[in-house]
């Protein structure tokens, strides 16, 4: 595998990271309330998958990984799974997108939407694998493939709303962010 380029210092790094963290917290709350009420059968919009994908395409490696790990930890504590499971899921999503961004320079919204759909299909597979390894039972429906596809489409279609909200939040933070503070991890 060829060595990867390191990104140049980013002047809006701070607002982007803080914006993503705040959005992550907000989406965690909404995922346990609004999005669980609006689920289509067992298929549920995965806004946090969209955030992990966005982080993979837009945040530096270390800070992005730290953010999605934290996000995974929050979700693990709110859900009934094993602590560490969603950390793994979001890290996998993040690194898959980071690799795509570094190697293939796929970073427009259309690719990010497609990536969100793909990653929200990957997520139940990782969870299923993790639960099987831990000898726990998984809630597999008879039409799991249909549900995964439906969830992927829902999540991909919803992704632009997450990206727009993120953009809005970052712009708002930029206005109040101290001008001197710039940096990268």
């Amino acid at each position: 595998m060829a060595p990867l380029r390191i990104k140049k210092p980013d002047p809006v790094f701070g607002p982007r990271l803080l914006g993503a963290a705040l959005m992550g917290f907000l989406l965690s709350v909404l995922s346990t309330t609004v999005f669980s009420w609006w689920s289509l059968g067992e298929a549920q919009v995965q806004p946090l998958a969209a955030l992990a994908v966005w982080a993979g395409f837009n945040l530096p490696l270390f800070s992005g990984a730290l953010l999605v790990t934290f996000l995974g930890y929050v979700v693990d504590n709110l859900s009934g799974g094993i602590v560490g499971l969603h950390m793994l899921v979001y890290l996998t999503m993040f690194y898959a997108c980071a690799v795509a961004e570094h190697h293939l320079a796929l970073n427009n919204w259309a690719y990010q939407m497609a990536a969100t759909g793909l990653m929200s299909m990957l997520s139940p597979l990782i969870i299923m694998g993790g639960l099987m390894l831990a000898s726990r039972q998984y809630l597999a429906s008879q039409d799991m493939l249909t549900m995964m596809l439906l969830q992927a489409v829902l999540s991909a279609l919803f992704a632009p709303a997450v990206f727009l909200a993120l953009q809005w939040m970052i712009r708002a933070l930029q206005k109040v962010w101290p001008r001197r503070q710039q940096g990268e991890d």
Partner: protein, 274 residues
């Protein structure tokens, strides 16, 4: 230093993935535990969940009330008719209850007093959709502790898996990792009920020879010391004798409408382990 710069991506990736795998491996082999950081997450997210749930409840309440008014008159007539029937039945039950009390005294059976309960509201659900858990707005400050039973007026809801000071996480009966010891009310056959998805339960370990029919009522046996004996769990929806080897695969409809679960009661009695 050059090595780190050259392979920075791979090194950071491996460090994070190994760290996540380690956390997962440590937690995989043990029951859910309360950690300080876990409690902090629940305490931070809980108030916002309560707020969003209240707003959502208010809006859906307005909407439902409108439709409820439209149908209220017709339902009122039907309910009055049912009330008349049930009033007569209540008299019969009261008679049976008194008789039962007299017989229990005769047999000198210990009458267990009703355990204390606390009412709670469901403020959140599993964020991933992969598990069947709920978060309620009562925690250790209100006497709620892990393993306590969660019920509502319809029947068994689930059990507490862990609690923070003001919130607690409930493993719903629908989750495949939830199980409860039960009885078939009519035949007194014993079995175990497990969660099987969005609106279904599975009754296991009912031997082929047992007589069980669709519509049979399934109740908690009370043997495991968590759920009160006689609490409604569900009704038999379908039986699949063609799939039976030793035990009959039985599908149940849960007694509780989990789609509309808003208020629950926590029975403030812990299971006493030997």
């Amino acid at each position: 230093m050059d090595f780190f710069r050259r392979y920075r991506f791979i090194i950071i990736t491996v460090i994070f993935l190994v760290a996540a795998l380690t956390v997962f491996s440590i937690n995989a082999n043990q029951d859910p535990r309360e950690t300080i950081s876990g409690r902090l997450v629940l305490e931070l997210v809980g108030p916002l969940q309560s707020l969003v749930s209240s707003v959502g409840g208010f809006i859906s309440g307005l909407w439902n009330d409108y439709f409820a008014l439209v149908q209220a008159a017709r339902q009122n007539r039907e309910l009055k008719f049912q009330l008349d029937l049930l009033s007569q039945r209540m008299v019969d039950y009261e008679e049976i209850k008194l008789e039962n009390g007299r017989l229990q005294k005769l047999l000198a059976l210990r009458q267990e007093s009703d355990p204390p309960q606390t009412a709670a509201q469901v403020v959140g659900w599993d964020p991933s959709g992969n598990f069947r858990t709920a978060i309620i707005n009562k925690g250790t400050n209100h006497g709620v502790e892990p393993q306590m039973a969660v019920v509502n007026s319809q029947g068994v809801v689930g059990r507490i898996i862990w609690a923070s000071p003001n919130y607690a996480k409930v493993l719903l009966l629908l989750d495949p990792n939830a199980a409860i010891d039960v009885l078939v009310q009519r035949s007194r056959a014993r079995g175990i009920v497990e969660g099987a998805g969005s609106d279904s339960l599975r009754l296991k370990y009912i031997v082929r020879a047992e007589e069980i029919i669709p519509g049979d009522i399934i109740i908690a046996s009370g043997d495991e010391g968590v759920f009160p004996k006689g609490m409604l769990v569900g009704t038999v929806r379908a039986i699949h004798p063609e799939l039976a080897v030793i035990f009959l695969p039985v599908e149940l409809a849960p007694a509780v409408d989990f789609e509309r679960l808003e208020e629950v009661s926590v029975i403030l009695r812990r299971r006493v382990l030997d």
